[in-house]
């Protein structure tokens, strides 16, 4: 099961060109939704103005070479290793979800576009990546949902309370969970069940990508930009008006404890 392409199986019911069109629409929704969000909220203008402010307050020049190395550092540390998270558990959960999602999406696109039917046998790696990616999203996501969300952990709200900030994670988990269950049910028989699950899977996925202007999805594009600006602020001395670190030895340890809702 883990090595068979669920979309190829599905091609007997739904033509590959329909599947491919659906994916194209989802990609369009991501790009369009993000752009709409940016334009509507004028967030690009804000970022640009903020960038100007940072440049104006510089106390040290940052050369092109240094800026490039900062960009690379941002991409590697903040982007690839989710370095901005100060809480190690949240960082790990995010990494699981992030790489899981990437693997899952890439595998979906490859399978639907390159190996759409049973006639084109799929190398085992792609379905494997699809399942593994999906499972990673579920592990990271459900862990976050029940145990790491700050409104649950620090504020004491029930994990079942739903607010708008949950739109992204709920639709993501619903989409991936339903997708995994659908693929499993499809491969073990039960045509009616499989069709129902497929329908639900498509609804959840459409909500995930369609709700981008209202959810936290687009933060995955804003965060790297913000991370880069933050590193630049440190490098050019402006630090957003923060004082520089004190020139003193680190000999007293720390008393910091994890927040809890008591």
């Amino acid at each position: 099961m883990f090595t068979s392409n669920p979309f190829a199986e599905l091609s007997s019911l739904i033509s590959p060109s329909v599947m491919q069109a659906y994916i194209a629409v989802m990609i369009f929704l991501v790009v369009g939704g993000t752009l709409f969000d940016v334009v509507h909220k004028k967030s690009a203008k804000y970022f640009f103005n903020n960038w100007q402010k940072i440049k104006n307050k510089e106390t040290q020049k940052v050369g092109g070479g240094e800026m490039a190395s900062i960009a690379i550092k941002t991409a590697v540390v903040d982007g690839l290793t989710s370095g901005e998270f100060c809480n190690p558990q949240r960082r790990i959960a995010h990494l699981l979800g992030m790489y899981g999602f990437v693997a899952y999406v890439v595998a979906t696109i490859v399978m639907v576009f390159s190996y759409p039917t049973m006639a084109t046998p799929t190398p085992a790696i792609w379905p494997a990546l699809w399942y593994i990616g999906g499972l990673m999203v579920c592990i990271g996501g459900y862990w976050f949902w029940f145990f790491l969300r700050v409104d649950v952990v620090a504020e004491g709200h029930s994990p079942f309370r739903l607010v708008r900030a949950d739109l992204f994670i709920v639709s993501l988990l619903a989409s991936v969970t339903l997708g995994l269950i659908w693929a499993y049910v499809q491969s073990t028989g039960g045509a009616v069940a499989a069709s129902t699950l497929l329908g639900l899977y498509l609804i959840a996925t459409t909500v995930l990508f369609g709700s981008i202007p209202w959810s936290k999805f687009s933060h995955m594009f804003f965060k790297p930009a913000a991370a880069f600006q933050k590193r630049m602020e440190k490098a050019n001395g402006s630090r957003r008006n923060l004082p520089p670190p004190a020139d003193a030895p680190e000999i007293y340890g720390s008393a910091r404890r994890q927040p809890q809702n008591y």
């Binding site: 100060c86 600006q229 007293y252 927040p259």
Partner: protein
Amino acid sequence: MPTFVYMTSCDGCGHCVDICPSDIMHIDKTSRRAYNIEPNFCWECYSCVKACPQNAIDCRGYAEFAPMGHSVRALREEDKGTISWKIKFRNGTEKDFVSPIRTTPWGSIKSPSDYDVPGPEALISQELAHEPDALNIKGGLPALERKQLKKGFRKGL
């Protein structure tokens, strides 16, 4: 100067929610990040500012009497035992300060249980824990005598 949180810096860790003595730092329902829900109950104590690991919290003086364009930011470094401040006036004047905050490692205070158990005479006496030694005086704990008591008003006191 109520506090506010920078959107791009807050990662929703909850330290500010945990520490605020006024219970006014809470999580926004749209972005799952922190914000000040009741600036009119903010004392500007900076507990949240100091607790934020991302330095995502800043203050803007009370709109009722503080003109815009100022900045008072702090960097509390527990492991160095220091707090650093940068004050920027509306007219651009800047002032910087660094102060010590502790002289011993965090967590190093000796528990009262680690001291010798006081005897029953000590419990009846007027001396508190670690006394009279911790007073660092000769002659024991000072006291008054009942015969010194005088009831009521006396001129010239």
